[in-house]
Symmetry: C2
Subunit: 210 residues, 2 copies
DNA sequence: AAGTTACTGTACCGGCGGTAGAGTAATCTG
DNA sequence: CAGATTACTCTACCGCCGGTACAGTAACTT
């Protein structure tokens, strides 16, 4: 049992430790300013070892994004799952989910995947197609999640005026990305949760006017 | 006349040409991936010449940000000035201004200062305090502009429910920053203007309910 | 005539991303 | 037990890039 997976575990453990070190460093000072050499020094590995795992620095970016998209999905599943568990209604479950999301985003100060997504987006010429597609898929995941939910809500609460529901779906990720940028620029972690709460107010006003 | 400013003009012209080349390159592939050497090659200057003008790469970042904050302010003055010129009322002038802003942001595909602001925000450890403070001042300028406007509007159109007007002011820059990130990630320049139009709808719904 | 501005030219430095290729200990597979 | 695979190490090297040092200089200002 121990022997069976010792090497495989060692391999994936080293990789994982590299990703953790990279995450800390990148969130602190950006991807470009994070050197491979500092990562291998922290983990206690050689340069060859790094390139064995990731091929090049873009491979590291890709692995970091994959890791975070998964984490992202899990968080959204959690908050909206809990919102729906507390509420039969699709609208009110969603509103509770948004509230939970705001609280969650207020807690994790700056360790959000959006940081990575935005950061990579602005250096995307550095990376290969895979990284850009991954980034795209992250946005699409949010869009689809919110779009289907709004379609469900609109069935029960048809808005009296025509609303751009697709745009409203994108507004969630827009506010998260933008909120992270502003929060970072202003060193104020309260900005993002406040934006999410305003978004919740907006959604409520659309489907429950008056 | 000609002679009086020939040298000074030459100096500032070279600087300006460097900034223009840098802007193109940075918007295309990011700041870190833009080398000083490619800029001086384009402008036809030596490395010493570059460092004469900017001191170091952070100096270039600072100059780019300054240039763009000024441009930014001019655009906002323009659109909301035009909005107000077409309308006596502070709310309706603002709503027209937002519409004009959406149109303007739809036209300039990706050459917006927000790109720079966000890009620099995610590499800010690279830069000195000045660059970070400049970035901050950009956000604060938007916040103050919108806050005073909302105070003015709220006098004439007191909202029936309590609204987070400060958060609503920040929502504008949040949506612009986030919209640029998403627009870039998705290669879709329609995302940002749509978000601004949704913002306009939100503002209208708050002050003109029903 | 002296000083300032806006550079050029040369030479050099260390860090970084990346490559090449040989070697190896531990582990898995047949 | 043999052979293949995994997860690396070690050594040596490359070119680019940001940055420094410093001397020189043509155009222009005072």
């Amino acid at each position: 049992m121990q022997g069976r997976t010792a090497l495989a575990r060692k391999g994936s453990e080293t990789r994982e430790r590299l990703l953790e070190a990279a995450e800390r460093a990148v969130l602190a000072k950006g991807f470009a300013a994070t050197s491979i050499e500092e990562l291998i020094a922290e983990v206690g590995i050689t340069k060859s070892g790094f390139f064995y795992h990731f091929g090049d620095k873009g491979g590291l970016a890709k692995a970091m994004l994959e890791r975070h998209l998964e984490h992202d999905r899990a968080i959204l599943d959690d908050v909206f799952g809990r919102g729906d568990a507390l509420n039969e209604d699709p609208l009110h479950g969603f509103l509770v989910g948004l509230q939970l999301l705001a609280e969650m985003l207020g807690q994790l100060k700056e360790a959000h995947p959006g940081c990575l997504a935005a950061s990579f987006t602005y250096q995307d010429q550095l990376f290969n197609r895979e990284v850009r597609d991954l980034n795209r898929s992250g946005v699409l995941a949010w869009r689809e999640r919110f779009c289907t939910r709004f379609a469900l809500i609109a069935e029960r609460y048809p808005p009296r005026v025509p609303v751009d529901l697709d745009g409203l779906a994108d507004m969630a990720s827009t506010l998260v990305e933008g909120g992270l940028v502003l929060g970072r620029a202003m060193q104020d972690s309260a900005i993002l949760p406040r934006q999410i709460r305003l978004y919740r107010d907006f959604v409520r006003a659309i489907f429950l006017p008056g």
